[in-house]
């Protein structure tokens, strides 16, 4: 583990605000992610990535140690960004927010993060070979825990039925949401529509009221 610049400069002394600087490293990551999303993992060759940032393949190795490092970083950044956004959203809700509102907010952020213009790299996950997938398991579990806690809170407050096995419900629910981007683009649905559908369906179900 050699020390590395990692493409980011420390904030200037005496400055509190972090300056978000766009580095070559970031551009390469974006390019690779774009190719994976659009054309699949196989199409994401070092030469293809390099071409998208106007470089030759070999030059990428100045910024990354290997292709795996690129892919792994895409995945990690994606999950961490998603986690940060959803966690922040939940944290920012008023104390008295109802379960339904918490859920709505979380789902909205989750879905829009996967397809919005601010999109993260998380759905890249679908395209990855199993070997690389496994490495990110821990972070994914941490993210699932976020939702687990959200649901548990709803049950504790009596706003959600407590006959749910959260160990099954959470991955089931998240699994459904993660698949959304694939057919969203085709159907032309918006993040808001999907979020609304997901929340309404999850909370009330589609059964006719008795």
């Amino acid at each position: 583990m050699r020390a590395r610049n990692n493409g980011r400069r420390p904030a200037a002394a005496g400055t509190v605000t972090t300056v978000k600087q766009r580095t070559m490293r970031d551009e390469i990551l974006d390019a690779a992610a774009e190719i994976i999303v659009r054309e699949g993992y196989d199409a994401c060759t070092m030469r293809a990535v390099a071409a998208l940032v106007d470089m030759k393949a070999g030059s990428l190795y100045y910024h990354f140690r290997s292709k795996d490092e690129i892919v792994e970083e895409i995945l990690n950044q994606g999950i961490e960004t998603l986690y940060a956004r959803v966690a922040e959203t939940i944290r920012g809700l008023p104390q008295e927010a109802r379960f339904a509102d918490r859920l709505s907010a979380a789902v909205s952020v989750h879905v829009s993060s996967l397809v919005g213009k601010d999109q993260t790299y998380m759905h890249v996950y679908e395209h990855l070979p199993p070997i690389i997938k496994r490495r990110s398991r821990k972070m994914r579990e941490k993210y699932a825990q976020l939702w687990h806690d959200l649901f548990a809170g709803g049950i504790a407050s009596g706003e959600a039925a407590n006959d749910q096995d959260l160990q099954l419900l959470v991955p089931y629910f998240l699994g459904g949401l993660n698949r959304v981007p694939e057919w969203m683009r085709a159907s032309g649905a918006s993040s808001e529509q999907v979020a609304k559908l997901a929340v309404a369906t999850l909370l009330d179900g589609i059964g006719a009221r008795r």
Copy 2:
């Protein structure tokens, strides 16, 4: 489109029952599917497939024209088998069966087809590059139509709320189900558990009863 034996012999003259014959073609397909599921698409090389059926890579080309043909056939067989099973299950239900029962039956068959010992090849889909995925869109849409009709029937009979946008609900629901096998193996849940959870959640939701 050259005429092909396709690895199956026509039933003998005068015979009504179709004899299911295990051909080399089928074994190759099984081997390839097994590798994809266990080790990912990248690991599914012609040499790896050949080794699993005790052959050399070149010999596979006696049975298939290309690797793509193998992968495509795995995908198509999987979807068609799934369609056939679910369609048959729904068709076989008594006329007076309630919507909840129809749904339960369909979900059970769907889920168990994805993970059971009788597993189809459908979850191979996850691992495929987008180019190959797109080719199967038509059949997948046909399958979705099956579920669309099921839901529409529930709404028509008043057993399901009619405020659902089925164009969104169906892919959302199926998307969730298709992701099930991945975490099922990890959590040790059974098909029955998952099917029960999915149906109960979809019908009643998890919101506390008012």
